[in-house]
């Protein structure tokens, strides 16, 4: 395959690829830079500074409140997904019980059902459980949507652990839970990190679930920013929007750069076995 782009002289290869890199990076850099730069119609009109971030801080309940909502939703989602998929993956990989394959397939079939199809009835059923308009309700729903990937990922992680490892722990007098906590947990840690990363990105960025399920005071950051833009229709404060996008993007980009290997590993397993 080396020669597929071999017809390109080396210099034009670099020009082409550098151009590509710029196209993919420029919008991010542009947003971060313009959120600080002077701009008419924003809070930052002369000189560089944090005026737009100041607008955000004082918008309605304050950006802090919305960031807090996002943080709570994200942490709860990650915790739910990690616990449920850890135990579920263990069950699916190492145990035999009636209905195992049916439950596994049912979990995977969540992928086949559109978000919107479930969100309309979830509005009603969460209300019956007194979970409507709560952060925990949003987290539970986002966690459910993460389960197919997470359960699949944890199942193959546990399957890759040699059976002797669990058995020797059982012989040493551990219960299955002891074996899980002391012996298997370290072995499936890479899988857990991948699952946690994807759950984090999904929960932090989710827009549609909270749009359907929560009211103004429980909005997470993405929803609050979209609503902020709409409430000042006509005079859209682009500066504040850019500052908001920057706030939203920074944790994702940092986490992605730090955990890039796990991100790719998630794809490896998904794509090879899918």
């Amino acid at each position: 395959m080396k020669k597929l782009f071999g017809w390109l002289p080396t210099s034009s290869y670099y020009v082409l690829t550098a151009g590509l890199a710029i196209i993919f990076l420029a919008p991010l850099v542009w947003t971060a830079v313009t959120s600080l730069s002077p701009q008419a119609g924003s809070a930052q009109t002369d000189g560089w500074g944090f005026g737009n971030y100041d607008t955000l801080i004082h918008y309605q309940l304050g950006v802090g409140k919305y960031a807090w909502n996002s943080t709570v939703i994200t942490l709860l989602t990650v915790v739910f997904v990690l616990i449920v998929s850890l135990l579920g993956g263990y069950a699916f990989a190492k145990f035999d019980f009636p209905g195992k394959n049916a439950l596994f397939l049912l979990t995977l079939s969540i992928l086949m059902v559109p978000y919107a199809t479930l969100l309309i009835p979830l509005m009603v059923s969460l209300k019956a459980m007194h979970l409507n308009n709560t952060l925990i309700g949003v987290a539970l729903v986002i966690a459910m949507f993460q389960l197919p990937f997470a359960t699949f990922m944890m199942r193959i992680s546990f399957e890759a652990v040699p059976r002797e490892m669990e058995e020797s722990a059982l012989i040493d007098g551990c219960g299955t839970f002891g074996a899980l906590a002391r012996v298997l947990l370290p072995a499936v840690k890479p899988g857990l990190i991948t699952v946690g990363l994807f759950a984090f990105l999904a929960a932090w960025n989710d827009f549609m679930v909270p749009l359907y399920l929560v009211g103004s005071e429980n909005q997470p950051l993405p929803l609050a920013l979209v609503n902020m833009r709409q409430q000042v229709m006509g005079v859209i404060d682009y500066g504040a929007t850019q500052a908001g996008v920057t706030v939203l993007a920074i944790p994702c980009v940092v986490l992605f750069l730090v955990l890039q290997r796990q991100y790719v590993a998630g794809f490896m397993s998904g794509a090879l076995k899918g």
Binding site: L20, V84, T117, L118, M129, L211, L225, T241, F256
Partner: protein, 327 residues
């Protein structure tokens, strides 16, 4: 890929054989084996319980409920007010935006899928080998995929704005438009602007999926072909493409499903406008539930239609795209 199911099967049966009961009624050892097997499967059920509860409460129950709702007169604020069975479906199909939104969703899906798979494949080939520069390229192309679709849409909303965005002036300088253009102001402008955003956000994702497939192709195949004097194009079309088929199939199914259900990008960027020209089906569900009719019954009916359409389309795709060897 082809050997996967049989491997899994072998592992499963092999894995349980030592514990599985052979002749439970005969020997004492057999009985204790039986008990151990029982206890072990009870433990398995215990560990699977959280998954089962989650799936039951947040997936199965709503799924049943959406069918009930689709047959009910159910308003956003008033709740259930009796049966409204064929009428909900009838009203949805008669909705003035129903066929329009379906047509637009299909058009959008075809365009996005062709662009994303083509571009994903091109990029995957471009960054295949691991050199420092290609590693950097890979990261650069992947970074947007860490961003949420909602954040990316807000970002491009500003990027496209005639007031602060650089795109309008750039188009003017290039001579593609005259005067101050509002990119999102025309139906085709709004659609292509959204397509560009989605391609920017998802190219890295599909590049990665296809890259994984490319790296699964044994390199001695390439060497053998080159020894036989095969040209680059021939190697690509006779070796790379056929062996990449499972990855391309997976990417296509994911891309088609994702695009058919497009919501965030249009909700934020175009609001379905101008004149509902970029209204997708999922947006129409939202519109019926919250904005125009405020009828959850009709929204549920449309959701059910979308669900069936999606299942049918996916079954069809799997038929067409699956490995011909496995037929």
């Amino acid at each position: 890929m082809a050997t996967q199911p049989s491997n899994a099967l072998a592992r499963e049966t092999g894995g349980s054989r030592p514990r599985r009961l052979r002749l439970p009624r005969v020997s004492r050892a057999g009985r204790s084996d039986y008990r151990r097997f029982n206890k072990r499967s009870l433990l398995g059920i215990a560990y699977a319980t959280p998954t089962a509860l989650f799936v039951l409460i947040f997936f199965v129950v709503p799924l049943v409920l959406v069918f009930v709702m689709s047959g009910s007169d159910w308003s956003l604020l008033g709740g259930r007010k009796g049966v409204n069975f064929p009428e909900n479906f009838h009203d949805v199909v008669q909705h003035r935006w129903f066929w329009q939104s379906i047509w637009f969703t299909i058009k959008y899906t075809v365009i996005v899928t062709i662009l994303l798979i083509g571009l994903g494949l091109g990029l995957a080939l471009l960054v295949q080998e691991s050199t420092k520069w290609k590693g950097f390229l890979r990261t650069a192309i992947l970074v947007p995929s860490a961003l949420g679709l909602a954040s990316a849409s807000l970002l491009f909303y500003a990027l496209y704005s005639p007031q602060v965005g650089p795109i309008s002036p750039m188009l003017k300088v290039l001579g593609l438009t005259s005067g101050d253009t509002v990119i999102l102001g025309s139906p085709s402008g709004a659609m292509w602007a959204t397509v560009f955003l989605v391609v920017w956000r998802f190219s890295g994702f599909y590049m990665l999926l296809l890259l994984v497939g490319l790296q699964g192709i044994p390199s001695d195949l390439y060497e053998a072909a080159r020894m036989d004097g095969a040209k680059t194009w021939k190697i690509f079309s006779r070796i790379t493409l056929p062996l990449l088929r499972p990855s391309i199939a997976l990417s296509t199914i994911m891309c088609v499903t994702g695009s058919l259900l497009a919501f965030d990008q249009f909700y934020i960027l175009t609001k379905g406008g101008p004149d509902a020209s970029t209204m997708t089906v999922v947006q129409l569900i939202y519109n019926i539930a919250f904005e125009s009719k405020k009828s959850l019954g009709m929204a549920a009916a449309l959701s059910v239609i979308v669900l069936f359409a999606l299942v049918l389309i996916n079954v069809f795709q799997m038929r067409v795209l699956r490995d011909p060897d496995k037929k």
